[in-house]
Symmetry: C2
Subunit: 201 residues, 2 copies
């Protein structure tokens, strides 16, 4: 529209050129449309560029890769989930007993995967650094902390790794979509598992 001020309203991080900002919005809007129409797996970077009316180079300049784009699309949902388990009300947030929080964490994560899992799968960077994206590290640390608080002294770091593996989107989606496992059954199994891990302490 019109330039309001020469001084950036939100300086620092927000130093983004007007055309870049416009294109980012165009791309995100187009990406959401395409996913709505074709699913996350059906989105190709070329089609996205075309739909948004920009060049392919622009798409990759913005998001780095297909996985990066998916992460960006996920970031809102992810931030909300993180906020809930770090600062929200019990039993997921602080205030409840560690075991209760562990149980709630798994239950909420299962629900989250059922809602955003396809996107999360598409956001998985290939190979080795998939477990080192900020969100994964945060979940891992959270689980480790809860395990410590629950009195698990035997290598809580690796135990948190194991629990993370259990909640991986790919497995959960496979159980639900292919094997018709009901989400409540998944949650019950998680409760069972985490109770035994903690009680054995």
């Amino acid at each position: 529209m019109c330039r309001v001020s020469l001084i950036p309203i939100r300086p620092g991080v927000e130093s983004e050129r007007r055309d870049a900002a416009r294109n980012r919005e165009l791309l995100l809007r187009a990406a959401r449309e395409l996913i709505e129409e074709c699913g996350a797996d059906g989105l190709t970077m070329g089609t996205l560029a075309q739909r948004a009316g920009v060049g392919k180079g622009t798409v990759f300049r913005r998001f780095g890769s297909r996985a990066g784009l998916m992460m960006t699309l996920l970031s809102d949902a992810e931030a909300a989930f993180q906020g809930r388990f770090m600062f929200g009300p019990p039993p997921l947030g602080p205030g409840a007993a560690p075991l209760e929080r562990l149980i709630a964490f798994g239950e909420e994560r299962i629900a989250w995967v059922l809602e955003f899992g396809e996107l999360a799968r598409a956001a998985d960077v290939s190979a080795y650094n998939r477990f080192d994206v900020p969100a994964a590290v945060l979940w891992h640390r959270h689980l480790e902390m809860l395990l410590r608080e629950a009195g698990v002294t035997a290598d809580p770091w690796l135990m948190a790794t194991s629990l993370s593996a259990v909640l991986e989107p790919e497995r959960i989606l496979h159980a639900v979509r292919v094997h018709q496992v009901a989400p409540e059954r998944l949650a019950a199994s998680w409760r069972e598992l985490v109770s035994r891990v903690v009680r054995g302490a």
Copy 2:
């Protein structure tokens, strides 16, 4: 060389034309060479075809896909492992207590992943049917059976799924290669986990 008999020596399954058999050998040999030289991730189907002196179509006719090729390369090691946990000596094979067998299974699998994991990762078919390849199904059933024998009555099928997730090559390789976790530490954590799962029964 020379044709020994018009009647196939091993009939039935072995009905493979001579040129097809020759090309399969050429391809497997070339594939092993290339993996030796460039690693499993460095092998491309085009290069493989070239090295073996056949067309690309032939490679895909034989193995279906890159993942299929990797599975074929793995099949010997996989069959050996399966034989050991199904028919071999205790504690991995039958004869030991279920918990002992579970512990041994994890330990052996960790060692197996450290030896063949890169190949196993490359053999992962994308997306949904990755957990339904015969080998994965067999491992899952084995774990489920051991859990039942150990007295785990609460949804042994899903519990076996969770334990399988813990032993996934990708996680194990990541822990060892990126986070420098010693294999014995992985084994100890597995022992701890599976003991708690079983004892809670």
